[in-house]
Symmetry: C2
Subunit: 347 residues, 2 copies
Amino acid sequence: MALRIALDAMGGDKGPEEMVAGAVLAVRGTGLSVTLLGDEARLRAALAAHVFPADRIEVVHASQVVAMDESPFDGIRKKKDATIVRAFALHREGKVDAVVSAGNSGATMAAAIKYLGRLDGISRPGIAGIYPTLKGPVVMMDVGANVDCRPRHLYEFGIMAAAFSRELFGVERPRIGLLSIGEEGGKGNILVKKSHDLFLKSSLNYIGNVEGRDTFQGDVDVIVCDGFVGNVCLKLSEGLAEAVFSMLGDEIRKSVKAKFGYLLAKDAFAAFRKRVDYAEYGGAPLLGIKGTGIVCHGRSNAVAIKNAIRVASEMVSHRVNDHIVELLAADNLDDLLAEAESSGALQ
Amino acid sequence: MALRIALDAMGGDKGPEEMVAGAVLAVRGTGLSVTLLGDEARLRAALAAHVFPADRIEVVHASQVVAMDESPFDGIRKKKDATIVRAFALHREGKVDAVVSAGNSGATMAAAIKYLGRLDGISRPGIAGIYPTLKGPVVMMDVGANVDCRPRHLYEFGIMAAAFSRELFGVERPRIGLLSIGEEGGKGNILVKKSHDLFLKSSLNYIGNVEGRDTFQGDVDVIVCDGFVGNVCLKLSEGLAEAVFSMLGDEIRKSVKAKFGYLLAKDAFAAFRKRVDYAEYGGAPLLGIKGTGIVCHGRSNAVAIKNAIRVASEMVSHRVNDHIVELLAADNLDDLLAEAESSGALQ
């Protein structure tokens, strides 16, 4: 049966017209169906500007929106008719197979947990970030949902990101690294040192500590960190990439020769931009919930939304959640924790 | 009186000849004197290739080196004749005014604390990283010396980095931001939330939380974080900058037109590289010790070493340490901590 993805059409900085354009690209390119949630009149007006198979996009009216700066928990509790609340309610009822939103990511996570619940064996669902590298993509988890973590949470992030990497990027046994400040197991903060021992004892393909500079080399498939560190990394990377282009642009504008040179090399710049563009990966999957969700960058354009809808559908068709549960079953986490504790590593 | 800087001539990946070349550039360009520590025969042979005022470079033989992968504490304890140990011993005896090393940074910090001690009122000396931004440089502290921190340590990093920013970059009242994952004071991990309240109550020019993406905008002068997060950021930035150039190079090499364009824009690329090159700032100052030290990147070339020697001399002539002590005296940290605790922020 064809999958149906709910899209929070009021999320994102570019407005519902951009979300609608993304939904249209998705149904045209993928054979999926989309349910748009938001202001019905506005969404229907936006849809009127497009040509698409009419039976594959439906509109469900939702009169409220959890704002970007609103408290996630208050937002979803107080606004029962918010797009993101209605979207996950539809997911719970089985009327859609996944939810995509470029709105308040905390509210998306909170609504996912409230309406769908956690996967069995997962105590902390999280958000996975996908980075381009010199080779394939790398999955970093958690990138913002869980700021203060214990070793078992990092272990869960490793399991979830590994299942995602395997199913979405076809990596048979993803190499998992623990983000630290030195490659030796003895280096890192208390959380990392304790987690290192847990990963060593696990059945995962753990390659040890990795450093920030390894993120973009492509020699590791999954990078595990707490959500504070992961979110700082995500935003630092964005800021640095922007600053690099801005400074390079400044220098190029200073000389006519350089400007001409840039015009000649423009296609190469465009190809490079496409290679590092977050829009290519669509968004950041929510992992660890009984269902499927993707949070997109607030600045997402129609292409990013189309890709997020595609990735959401692949997470469903590849049964990522079943693989998370399978990987969890390969280890007895309580035994691992007890073993690590008795060996002194968790003291 | 002219200042004399000790240089660990056996540190760094490029070998003592590069260190010697850096020392020669420094004495030629700055009027400073340099004491080289290392294998005397090898250093004298390297010096023979250069022209420089002979009385301004002296060589002190040291027969051992703390290796890059050696435990800092074991290294400085066991190797009494190590370059970095001898350098800080000279500093303690008043024979040099500062120490510069591109060797094992942990050993440099450990030797500094052992031979010079901590500044009064500082419990945790640290390492400050200097980043280029779209405007002036920003100082991030700590970038690796203290991985597990409490709020008082972050407060100390803020004081030390502010004194450095004021004296080295001429920023009268440096704007201090706390690295977090949202701009509101309520966002962050436990450490950041507690530290936020402490900074708010302090006399510092605290502007609140900043995010990773703000690092390169130049709207903040000092970014405070624990040494785990700071070190991850430092290495992630390095790795990302390298990956960006590598991917862009790949794309440019794919087309003759783009290659030609790149040649025309080459000066702009070179100017940009110079702007973001860590070598321009020389290295990362050790702050909070009773003396002056700079740790340089292992890959430092002669220019980076020359700049580090210059920055070390400016730290001495601008009396950065006196200004740290002055800034500390403006607040009573114990009162601030007690106040924050009674208001519930440190619970």
